[in-house]
Every structure is written in structure tokens, then in C-alpha cells.
């Protein structure tokens, strides 16, 4: 969709200098996080607000609010940040046009194993990625703007 300059999966969400370099690289001036847990955690919201440059507008929404937000046109260059692929399937299934997804950070967890370098996924998350690919969404791994994007399909 127009003005959606980056859709990124990063379980660290807004992450200091990493996020700052993406914001510069993409010329974004607003960041939207769609994550139920974060949207319902006022304390976490305040922490995230500390971690992002002041001139950047920030929206933190639940899945349902996310659909409502992206169903309207975006007035400004926007970065969409989520923690995992399931939310993106939900948005796409609800009519939001997401053409490509950057997998930037998925850390290790008990239920996850290494997919590629420092990106780890669970069996369920791999299924979610396949489902995104089935919907013709281009999914690639790229941690920093200067990295070369790597298609995720051959690792699933």
C-alpha cells in the first residue's frame, strides 16, 4: 500500500540504533506497532517511546485497531513493526495490502530453532511464513539496511 515504506518483524520492536537507521534509510516519519500484548501494556509503551527519536510519530495498536488504521490511506511514510508473522497474516486476511515483509529480529526461545544466522523460528511461525508466501507476499531476511536481503522461502 502507498506510504507503507517498510513492514518489519522484530521481536525487539523499536530497538535503539537499529530502528533509527531504518527510519533514516526509508525516510519514514511514523512507526506503527501492531501487537496485542504491547498495546495493552501502558508501561511498555512508555519504555518504547523513550527508545525512538522524538520527531517520529508512534502508534501502538491491537490487531483489530491495526486493521482499522491501515484500512485508511497513509498520509506519511510509515514503518509497520510486528513481533511475528501471525499478525501479518491477520492483517492481510483482513484486506490490508502488504507486498513485502522484512524479517529483522527473532531471538532464540525454548520453542524456536535457528532458521538463518540469528533469526530463530518455531514450527508454527514457519507455517505462518509459508502462509504469507502463499498469499504472494515477498518475505526476506534483512537485519540492517546495508545487508543484502535473503529470501526466506529456501530456509522454511
Amino acid at each position: 500500500m502507498k506510504n507503507l515504506v517498510l513492514t518489519r518483524i522484530d521481536d525487539r520492536l523499536i530497538h535503539g540504533q537499529v530502528m533509527t537507521s531504518w527510519i533514516k534509510n526509508k525516510g519514514a516519519n511514523q512507526v506503527v506497532i501492531v501487537d496485542d500484548g504491547t498495546a495493552n501494556d501502558q508501561y511498555m509503551i512508555e519504555v518504547l517511546e523513550m527508545a525512538i527519536p522524538e520527531e517520529i510519530a508512534i502508534g501502538i495498536f491491537t490487531k483489530e485497531e491495526g486493521v482499522a488504521f491501515f484500512s485508511q490511506e497513509l498520509d506519511e511514510p510509515t514503518i509497520l513493526l510486528v513481533k511475528g508473522p501471525d499478525v501479518l497474516n491477520y492483517l492481510v486476511d483482513n484486506g490490508i495490502a502488504i507486498e513485502e515483509v522484512d524479517v529483522g529480529g527473532m531471538g532464540t526461545r525454548k520453542d524456536r530453532s535457528v532458521l538463518y544466522k540469528n533469526i530463530s523460528t518455531s514450527a508454527e511461525e514457519n507455517k505462518q511464513f509459508k502462509s504469507l508466501l502463499d498469499k504472494k507476499v515477498n518475505v526476506f531476511i534483512q537485519v540492517m539496511p546495508q545487508d543484502k536481503p535473503i529470501g526466506i522461502d529456501k530456509y522454511l
Binding site: D11, R12, I14, H15, G16, Q17, M19, T20, Y43, M44, V47, L48, M50, A51, I52, M106, G107, T108, R109, V114, N118, S120
Partner: protein
């Protein structure tokens, strides 16, 4: 007495702690909690909370030094201020850690330590550009003042 914990991306904090021990001979009850590569923010936050809970004096609070503002260690510590009394400083370095650990007294509070930590003397950055083979021009005193 205020507890001190140092946190970082990777082993930086552990390295600082071992350098502190090398310089001063002690680690003063300071604990280092590194975020290891690939570790998720949730699991790091749990690990940090566990370390903080292990200190017997919770009332005086925690002075937490972190490597960079906004990163996962920093955000995790900021979040834990929900359950713990915390003062958080980013941009930690060796002179800062050294002056704080050596200079900390029973009377110090989180506020007084934060003030100390960010003072120019404590941060301790000095610089001089040396020209190749350049000599110092210091006035030399001689034993016989009248010569």
C-alpha cells in the same frame, strides 16, 4: 546500600567487570548481565529480574549502567522499574564504573550516585593529539634555585 548492576549487548559488561577486578582487586558486589546473541527480549528481561531479585537490600534500589540508550538491555531495565527501584544510565565506561564502585558509600542514594556518574570527572574522557616525536615542554626545576 545502593546495588549496582551493569548490562550490555554481548560480553562488554562482563569484560568491564573483570577489568574492574584487575584494577581494584574487587567487584564490590556488582553483577554483570549480558544480553547474549540471539536472546529474545522477554528471556533477557526475566534473567535481569532474577538477578535483581537476588539482592538482599531491595529498599536502597539499583543503579544500572548500560552500554547504549534504547537497546534491549536498556529497555529491559527501564521496564523493570515497574517492580524495582531503579536509576538507569547509558554510555557506561571504565572510569565511570571505577569511580562509582570505589566512591560509593552507605550514605549515597540513587540520586546522588546518578549525579556523580554523569559528572565530567567520573566519565573521565581526556584527549591529546601527539605529533610524531613531539616533546613535552614542561618547566624543569633544578636543585639549586639560584642557578
Amino acid at each position: 546500600m545502593v546495588n549496582m548492576v551493569i548490562i550490555s549487548h554481548g560480553e562488554f559488561c562482563e569484560g568491564l567487570l573483570s577489568s574492574l577486578k584487575m584494577i581494584s582487586g574487587d567487584t564490590y558486589g556488582i553483577k554483570a548481565v549480558p544480553l547474549v546473541p540471539g536472546e529474545s527480549p522477554d528471556s533477557y528481561r526475566e534473567k535481569l529480574a532474577e538477578v535483581l531479585s537476588g539482592y538482599s537490600d531491595q529498599e536502597s534500589g539499583f543503579l544500572i549502567l548500560s552500554d547504549i540508550a534504547g537497546g534491549t538491555p536498556f529497555q529491559s531495565a527501564a521496564y523493570l522499574s515497574k517492580d524495582f527501584k531503579i536509576a538507569l544510565i547509558s554510555g557506561m565506561n571504565m572510569p565511570m564504573l571505577l569511580s562509582l564502585s570505589l566512591g560509593k558509600t552507605e550514605e549515597d542514594t540513587l540520586d546522588s550516585l546518578v549525579k556523580k556518574a554523569i559528572s565530567k570527572d567520573c566519565v573521565g574522557i581526556q584527549s591529546k593529539v601527539f605529533g610524531k616525536g613531539e616533546k613535552k615542554h614542561r618547566e624543569k626545576l633544578s636543585v639549586n634555585k639560584n642557578r
